[in-house]
Subunit: 153 residues, 4 copies
């Protein structure tokens, strides 16, 4: 089963970018119920997002180098099944196409038996050093988007 | 301006329960942008929720005493403005009426100038010790709900 | 019983400054053993240290205003008894006299029955904006130290 | 330079067990100074300790299976240099020989240029399910220690 996306897409939009990393549940992420405390998924999603940014050249440091920060506007998690201590899991991160100066990330976490255990999304604005909200994408990211549209990344 | 609720309510439903606590931003909650890291709002909301539970008698330990856990099913945050180091803020927690064995919490965080800086919600299931999902509210919580309906709390 | 200090003092040194704050164990601080995870005491000690700094005028923001940061050099915790969910506790912070440009903090955590549950210390250097280590105290802090020596704070 | 150990050893004691893992600094571990917040080293050390336990068969879950918990008694960190965002580092964990029912772990963190950036230690007691302190090692761990003494692990 392929989970339905949180973001609406037009038929002509390029397919979302996708990246997967694997991690293992840490002891300090557990709560008294012996499962990952719900708030820690913000950290999991962020790890997936950062790994994707590093891969495609639009990571936190890439944006920072160009004087842009990408604070969150919205954050959502849907908890399907819990994760337990020392369990391995995969974080699948997807970036959905958006014409605006905005980043629409989706996350799907799978356990070691490949069951979907958590889904979520985060929406990020782009902000300059004076905390002004960007209305157009910065040039370096626009270039990446062009390649993305041409199917070259 | 009163923010619109995330939860649909019927006209005959009792009004949401409400509780406010005040806190101060801690150093270890900050990120390199010198604002509260977005993932920490899970902790802020939880503090609000726990304080409300303590006040009305349906806290984590009350449910636990009756063999019930209340894991999260959904979690959402809308970031409006950032919070900075040492700033005081208020967490307003609301519990919305629900006929089902489910808890619908909403959160509104206000800064020291009473501006709404964050909104969010969490939806909790009720689960017994065998991890079975409850379909009716446990008796102790049902009693609280009856009083709530009668406007006695 | 007054616990022995971690720091050596000379008989002519002014008495340590002392400050006490009260807190309550949060759910997200617990580990699967249902006690506060050992790493969270860094946060507890920091809360005590910051509250003391605010009281006496040498807090994080005071140092920052004068272009000085106070990173940790050493950190130690002695775990005597665990703390459980929702328990109230007191953090006693002491600052020991030191002629050098260095901050020697000691922490004692007491539970709601006034039993000593944790002790620890942190040693901080003073560093300027170029990350150079200060060898003399900044003027604003030297003034506070003079008052301290004269018993006026 | 080989750093001096925190633990006294006798000449006839078996050499410490050693294990190394590699990690990368995460965004949510940073503080406003753009370096890893000092309290996060408790998590780094724990990761090293858990990886070593998994390798040698005396991990958290191994102890738990035999009804034994290993809470911390002491914890110490010496901060030598800071770690920055996205930097890779190695956590070297050492377990020192101890005749008693106690675990003496030492940690050394090296940056990507192999410079020692942090050292520390943790001392753990062994406790049974009734929270009684063990005076002899549990049988499964004693067996591991015998092999260790014979140089077979």
């Amino acid at each position: 089963m392929i989970p339905k996306s949180f973001f609406k897409q037009n038929p002509e939009d390029p397919k979302p970018l996708k990246h997967i990393i694997k991690r293992k549940v840490r002891f300090d992420e557990l709560d008294p119920l012996n499962i990952v405390w719900h708030g820690n998924y913000a950290s999991y999603f962020e790890e997936g997002r950062i790994a994707m940014g590093d891969k495609y050249g639009f990571g936190y440091l890439d944006f920072k180098k160009h004087g842009v920060m990408i604070p969150l506007k919205k954050f959502y998690v849907d908890y399907i099944m819990p994760l337990e201590f020392a369990k391995e899991y995969a974080i699948e991160t997807l970036l959905y196409w958006n014409e605006s100066a905005r980043l629409d990330f989706e996350y799907r976490i799978y356990d070691c038996e490949n069951r979907l255990v958590t889904m979520g999304y985060s929406v990020h604005m782009m902000v300059d050093l004076n905390k002004g909200i960007l209305v157009v994408k910065p040039a370096f990211y626009e270039k990446i988007c062009e390649k993305w549209k041409e199917g070259k990344i």
